[in-house]
Amino acid sequence: MRLCIYPIMTYFRGVWCIMEKLIPAKDRLLKSKNNWMDGELRGKVLVILCAVIMISATISITIFIGTKGLQSFIKNGVSLFEFLTSTHWNPTDQAKPEYGALPFIFGSFAVTFLSALVAAPLGIGGAIFMTEIAPSWGRKILQPVVELLVGIPSVVYGFIGLTVLVPFIREHVGGLGFSLLSGMIVLSIMILPTITTIATDAISSLPNSLREGSYALGATRWQTIRKVLIPAALPTLLTAIVLGMARAFGEALAVQMVIGNVRNLPSSILDASATLTTIITLNMGHTTYGSVENNTLWSMGLILLVMSFAFILLIRYLSSRRKL
């Protein structure tokens, strides 16, 4: 009897047969030869495949932008020094084309830092409000607000900036309205959710024993926040700011709609300006593939890529400091 059902039991490898130990130990415990069937190998292959696709996509994008971006310097003979330091951008001039991207590089950095300057205190303040001051109702109100801000598409931000912010600045502050200032305000609202969300997580994940320890020594709430919680969460708070800056640096559409897109170096915050991303989006349509001007746009893309690597390295460095 047992002899006749034994092959069937091993074939199905039923859980019951194994649990009841009806089949000999070598069939229960030795590694099966046919790994593909037991799902373990299949799962492994599947996730390795996912990882390989992601890694190869990133690497090929990097290589592509790298080769395209360097072409203007190698093939077209544009001077790298001129590209990075000259303020004259005049690629369409027939007689003497100029390729100085400094105004755009400066514009990118300027709006990024300015918007971080506005968004960082706002975001961290909001995070403290949600976690420490009014954890119950504050969070209930602010959380959906922040999530909503993430969901608004950047073209809508740009549109609002164009119709509300630009005329407002023109009438009440001065200048054309299209300015670094407008770009800064639009961008700071756009990166606010990133900073707020990460900062909230950073502060609320601090152990309660830190708060209790400080309160038990007779510290007030503000003293505890300022001297214990913020220092303890600082590496993550900085990471939040850097991530926000990375987003601001790469944002194109909304900025393009409000910043004015001129090729001069701005001399004040009310001057119109341009960033690397806005110049790329503006000009990629009307330049021919392979032309010098098109290649210099790729060089700007390369600068964006290098900067985003720099941001990632900075975040890595900051999070390694977290483990005190």
């Binding site: 830190l210 320890g213 038990a216 007779g218 303890a232 005190l324």
Partner: protein, 273 residues
């Protein structure tokens, strides 16, 4: 009766209450009830705590002893929905009153927690942290207090060469003594210890116990402990809590050798809890 107990002893042996008190009192608890929302965690307890002595609170988990301890420096205020009724008298003031400045109160009634919780800063800054809030800014004075409190916490010799290293680099036992040191630095009158050595190894535990006995001469200490040997080794008086009630409160020796309530005896001999 209650107010008579509060007065400092007038004659020599004149103040003799029901409880045979001839030491100065530091706290007097009258009909204290503590609620978490609807749930009552502590039921109408009354007791007096002597000055410069160690009072141990024992009892099974969830009996209300930690809740009671945390109400003494109003740490329960931080828990939403927690409230206390009755009174705890400290220097003629009811510290449960709305008018009490809890920040000032916690400077006088310090607390050390179960798990060592040093701030992620240097050893030195851990101690000066609260001092700066209290308004002490002068470097020489801070240095002096840091050394003094680390000496008192029996930690000075171990850390004097690395005061500016991170406090998190210390061992668990050292961290706990650092937490005691930073409480001492505030010069409190009462120190509340919530199972201060339960997370420590036996050797660190022995050091902390030694330290607590040593601190008795300067401070009044109330300690919650799950370790009955610890209670019998270090405390002068022991209170046994069960399900929110104060079952028995007496001299430690009496509680551990000849308790008058059967429940206490059962708990101490390990029949439940």
């Amino acid at each position: 009766m209650a107010s008579a107990l509060m007065n400092k002893p007038t004659g020599k042996q004149e103040v003799q209450s029901v409880r045979q008190i001839n030491k100065e009192l530091i706290l007097e608890v009258n009909n204290l009830e503590i609620f978490y929302g609807e749930k009552r965690a502590v039921n109408e307890i009354s007791m007096v705590i002597e000055k410069n002595s160690i009072t141990a609170l024992i009892g099974p988990s969830g009996c209300g002893k930690s809740t009671f301890l945390r109400s003494i420096n109003r740490m329960n205020d931080l828990i939403p929905g927690a409230r206390a009724e009755g009174e705890i008298i400290y220097e003629d003031l009811n510290i449960l009153s709305e008018q009490i400045n809890v920040v000032a109160l916690r400077k006088e009634i310090g607390m050390v927690f179960q798990k060592p919780n040093p701030f992620p800063k240097s050893i030195y800054e851990n101690i000066t942290h609260a001092l700066k809030f209290a308004g002490i800014k002068k470097k020489s004075m801070l240095d002096e207090i840091v050394e003094e409190s680390l000496q008192k916490a029996a930690l000075w010799d171990e850390v004097k060469d690395r005061l500016h290293k991170s406090a998190l680099s210390l061992s668990g036992g050292q961290q706990q003594r650092l937490c005691i040191a930073r409480t001492i630095a505030m010069k409190p009158t009462i120190m509340l210890l919530d199972e201060p050595s339960s997370a420590l190894d036996p050797i660190s535990n022995a050091k902390v116990e030694e330290l607590i006995i040593d601190l008795k001469k300067d401070y009044s200490i109330i300690i919650v402990t799950h370790n009955m040997q610890q209670a019998s080794r270090i405390s002068d008086k022991t209170a046994f809590f069960f399900k929110g009630d104060l079952i028995e409160y007496d001299a430690t020796e009496k509680i551990f050798t000849n308790p008058s309530v059967k429940k206490t005896e059962e708990y101490i001999s390990g029949r439940f809890g």
